[in-house]
Homo-oligomer: 205 residues x 3
């Protein structure tokens, strides 16, 4: 439980930072920055909770997430220069976020008694849809449709997590391994410019 809460807090922070960076890049005003920080960090978990019928949505049961995000915004603003200089910062925070949220979503779906296949989907949804909603609200084609092995990384981590879970591994250990899998695949994919194109037969002619 405590390990899960820690993962939740870190993931929320990482995605809030990535939301602020995205909003600034798109020249939104203050309120746009706030909404994008909230949507990016809470969107995926919110969609998961709505789909599995766990309402009021989990972050609404306490004010912790709200205050965390409200604190992250000026923090990200203050260290903006540093963040922007480290070119890959946005991708890094985004990657950490998806790693943490994949296992979080999966864990919650298993808890509710959904099948492993559905649980793996919920892990991916939790990790990925905060960013998808962020991109849709910014009127952009979601990153996930165009770049890197983004979701493939989540999927791999989710499969690893549910396999290890099946064998009854300690949750803390399982969390660490699965999160590491997601983050490693994503970072390797970015570094080596991996991609899975989908060239339909029709285009060959």
């Amino acid at each position: 439980m405590d390990a899960i809460f820690l993962v939740d807090i870190c993931g929320t922070f990482a995605f809030a930072v990535s939301g602020v960076l995205a909003a600034v890049e798109r020249k939104f005003d203050l309120f746009g920055v706030i909404i994008l920080a909230f949507v990016t960090s809470l969107g995926g978990g919110t969609l998961r909770d709505i789909l599995i019928g766990s309402t009021p949505v989990s972050w609404m049961n306490s004010d912790v997430h709200i205050y965390l995000i409200l604190l992250t915004i000026p923090l990200a603003y203050f260290f903006m220069n540093t963040l922007v200089k480290l070119k890959k910062t946005f991708l890094l925070f985004d990657t950490i976020g998806i790693g943490l949220f994949t296992v979080l979503g999966l864990d919650k779906a298993i808890e509710v008694g959904l099948s492993p296949v559905v649980a793996i989907m919920m892990g991916v949804v939790t990790a990925v849809f905060g960013g998808v909603i962020r991109d849709v609200l910014s009127n952009q084609v979601p990153l996930i449709f165009r770049k890197e092995i983004y979701a493939f990384a989540c999927l791999s981590g989710a499969i690893v997590y549910s396999s290890l879970n099946y064998f009854g591994l300690f949750i803390e250990f399982n969390l660490m391994i699965s999160i590491t899998v997601v983050i490693s695949i994503r970072l390797l994919a970015i570094k080596n410019k991996w991609s899975i194109p989908f060239k339909p037969l029709a285009k060959r002619n």
Copy 2:
């Protein structure tokens, strides 16, 4: 019950094909194709279930829909050449999908005890919003806002279905008639380029 299940499976298949075709046209990578297939075929029913509070969303209670869609993707890929040659294929599958899903959504809403007017709306939502979400995620103005008598076809079918239902017709018979109404109107509209423009008075000057 069995007839409803059959309608569900066929509609899911038809929309999954239309999702794959849309994704390929937009040059998404493999994961984008998968997401668009899922979103197009499950999106409308998901929104309906969320609105009426039937959660976990119905397709999450078994793995049937997930496997069906995962099988449809390579199938649509393999027959891509054939599908693309038949120019109207995308529209055909899309039309079959909306025909089937209109009555499906309506039936479910009536079952939950909602008023006929609300039930008709839920039929249209089920049929139409998979495509709307598909278009929003692809960063396009939803087809439904710009083309043909798309939703008018759904609406007509929904009204026919709930009228026949009121008179206590056999469900299998009712399903067949209503689905035929939707598909016929849509295909006639495409063939004859029907449209309902909405020229506001203000523009005349």
Copy 3:
């Protein structure tokens, strides 16, 4: 209760008008106009109800909202010339809508037992997301991200409402004050072209 219902009806009407105006401006066909009227007026409350788990979503429990919106559409169409001549009409109806819906959403969230901070967020969500969904469906960056102190007005009204509520003021009185606060701030912001830019430090260099 009655005062709340009145606020609901007026807000729904105001947002439906703003939805029709937006659809006409974007040259949508009849069905697009209908969807945009529905989405703009029901979208915010729908999202709030889904988030707090109050389903079937409130407007689905009677046909009042549906008939109201269906009546508003030809009305807005008929008076289109007048509406368009009064340049600021769209903004006015939109502003009245957000004023009314802010307090409505907040009131409902408090009723369900959510914390004041979450309730204020739900007030803003109710007021703002109908317009956000309208803009996303029209493939535009939501107004809220780019213009004026839109959401700041909602936020102020929400804070005033929950403060007055805390001191046990008559609800009718409280409603009037809070709605006035939202509308005044928004109108003053439009008139004086207030905005809260968010210039990140990084951009200065």
